[in-house]
Symmetry: C2
Subunit: 407 residues, 2 copies
DNA sequence: GCCAGTTTCTTAAGTGACTAAAGAAAGAGC
DNA sequence: GCTCTTTCTTTAGTCACTTAAGAAACTGGC
């Protein structure tokens, strides 16, 4: 099997930092990672020889001395397949180490069928054949709308797919002979965001998705938090209204049962705004228009924003994130959600100077699958090291002069 | 100054494991930490020479070969002072490396006074003098009811104490010449619980305190989670009732404004159950009694339990903890809270097989200060290493033979 | 009671990541 | 030109950790 680097921690730390922060000089890497310049010469030499990183022509301006030569990840040093399994389709992307997508496919698919997993295997097989013209395939990342015990074994429980204890990871791994990482789809999205999105410079943030369901990924200390059983992030089924509508999960008044796509359409239908078999897009289109009915449609979305904002207020009070990244199909009508979300966050959230920023990532068809591919690259780059700031280590308390590390 | 171990990670990993899991054999340590037996011989030899660990007389029964000789932490290899700063008093404990408390003091104190910090210095000074008869003082841990930017610099914001940006950590450190770690009081409690309490065998759990306020510490992946600004765990000010009573924080309907001590007494007073200047203890005493008024007092507590339980249901849905540890003064009447909490958790929380266990730690006067002391010992033992279960690491994607990283 | 098999611990020799120190290379400022 | 800075490299050495081999201590079978 292909591997990215040697056993040493520095290599992976360097790769992780380059993956997260983009091209840097050796000196900057050394400072950032708390290593000696000598080490960086060695490490970069080996990685250059392996073809994993490259020296860029672009140079940093001089800071009063010799100009720094930038090194950066070589995108085609490796690639990963990202698979998003939804109830009615499978999306697949082929992504390079630097996050560049080289191929995308979306295939209608009944994931609730009995033989769904073998079907997925056959669907993936053509993409896993060795290719001369492409970088080495490092592994397959799979995002599923459900909970996963551990990414490497990948046992899936997904009510939406009718899956109970399906050992997807080992089945795919055995059938395809590749490293397979399975993860909850929103958590996968969080990994992607951490590696290639807003999270490149953030250590503690939330990814919230709105759309058919309501999802959450918690990035804590630079890592996606999975909880004790891999079930962390079940935002959609947080109890909100004591006697609210019945949710697909069997409980009443879940957040998702109030502001998920189905709930919004139902609300609009009850209000006589849309017809019997309207879609979420119909509602969004209506809200974007003019007139009284558009106004009332916008009120529905604003109200949804307020409900979401109140829950986010509670969450930020407890988790203290630096930023909230909103994603998903529902962001198409984000501008109608936004006022409600912001108002609720301001009224019920943290005090101003600790209030998280809110950013919105535009929705693309492949973003879920990209997140899944990022799982593999994150594992390759991270190695469980990248997030630990070496300068933050405590070297034995109170050891004379400056032992309390210079964070 | 005293230091516990060398810079190498194995020593700290060994100490951390012994601190968490109790005495073990060298072979068990090697297995558990994924190191070679040879390394453990070396590491334990050095630690034995330093007097930090000792060989115990007690031996493990043979498993078909040579009997294992247990090594364990030497309790008197070090000690720490733990300080809990409350609005009206300061509590202090002197705790040994093994968690044994050798001295406790509680002093009435006005922490809201202008010269509070110098007063704390003078209060601590007698305890920091070198003592022949006691183990070396490793440092001072301080728990405060507020948010702290970073434990080492220790800049405190505490509305309850009227403190704004008070650099408590550096001030104490400079005045006393010792390592000082400052942390939110509930987070400190979480550290203590992780090291010496239920958390010894748990990696993901919540510590919830009930009493004057409502507090939360989140232990995620073996570490107390601090959030982006050190503000994680502000459970008391999660918004619950949109138009609820005014909270001390200026918002309406915070959890604390509904089920904190003051709120409960107020509710009981409004219901005519207790008199004008009743205390929380009066309410607890009443609930423990018999008759109609006792019945109604119990209803007040049960209702508080339900409110708490609903919020915990939301929290466990999102965080997926393995266990919830309830602590604090309020646990004196826990048996009247419990039915409400459990009912709400069952109705609104995770499905049965992922439902967190609930345990209650009996309240003691010094438990907050013990948590503060644990900060120091946790830092000494942890070193950012111990909490990572070496068996859970990803061994370099698909690279059969272990390329283990010594995180 | 002795030998085979097991488990625990130690010793010896070697690998490899990392470092400090010194210097070379390449620029800025005067 | 010169000095000062910053970046990168080379050299020689340190130290944690490992493998391999064996010693120590125990169980169980015969």
């Amino acid at each position: 099997m292909n591997r990215l680097a040697g056993d040493d921690l520095s290599s992976t730390a360097v790769l992780a930092l380059l993956g997260r922060a983009g091209p840097m000089s050796r000196a900057a890497l050394a400072r950032e990672l708390g290593m000696s310049p000598a080490t960086l010469t060695q490490v970069t030499r080996r990685l250059l020889a392996q073809g994993v990183i490259e020296e860029l022509d672009r140079q940093e301006p001089s800071r009063g001395g010799r100009r720094a030569r930038l090194v950066g990840l070589v995108g085609d040093a490796g690639r990963a397949l990202g698979v998003k399994v939804a109830a009615d389709h499978v999306a697949l992307v082929d992504m390079r180490l630097d996050g560049q997508v080289t191929d995308t496919v979306t295939i209608p698919f009944d994931a609730t069928a009995l033989e769904a997993v073998p079907a997925i295997v056959e669907l993936l097989r053509p993409f896993t054949n060795p290719r001369e013209d492409l970088p080495a395939l490092l592994g397959i990342g799979v995002g599923v709308p459900g909970s996963v015990d551990r990414p490497d074994s990948g046992v899936v429980d997904a009510a939406m797919l009718n899956w109970r204890h399906v050992p997807l990871g080992t089945m795919l791994g055995a059938a395809l002979g590749l490293a397979v990482l399975v993860e909850n789809d929103v958590n996968a999205l969080g990994s992607g965001e951490r590696l290639y999105g807003r999270g490149r410079t953030l250590n503690d943030f939330l990814v919230v998705t709105i759309g058919r369901g309501v999802g959450l990924a918690i990035v804590a200390g630079g890592h996606v938090y999975r909880g004790a059983h891999g079930g962390a992030g079940e935002f959609g089924h947080v109890p909100v209204a004591l006697d609210g509508p019945l949710c697909t999960c069997g409980k009443h008044g879940c957040l998702e049962a109030l502001i998920g796509d189905d709930a919004l359409v139902r609300t609009a239908r009850t209000a006589g705004l849309v017809g019997e078999d309207a879609t979420p897009d119909d509602l969004a289109g209506l809200a974007d228009g003019a007139g009284d009915r558009a106004e009332r449609a916008r009120a529905v979305l604003r109200e949804a924003g307020e409900i979401l904002g109140r829950q986010l207020a509670g969450l930020t009070t407890v988790l203290d994130p630096e930023e909230i990244v909103v994603m998903g199909e529902g962001t198409r009508s984000w501008r109608w959600w936004e006022p409600g979300v912001r108002a609720a966050l301001q009224r019920h959230g943290r005090r101003r100077d600790q209030e998280p920023a809110i950013t919105v990532e535009p929705y693309t068809d492949t973003i879920w699958a990209q997140g899944a591919a990022a799982l593999v690259l994150a594992a390759s780059l991270d190695g469980g090291v990248g997030s630990v700031d070496p300068r933050r280590r405590i070297h034995g308390l109170g050891d004379g002069a400056g032992s309390r590390s210079a964070t």
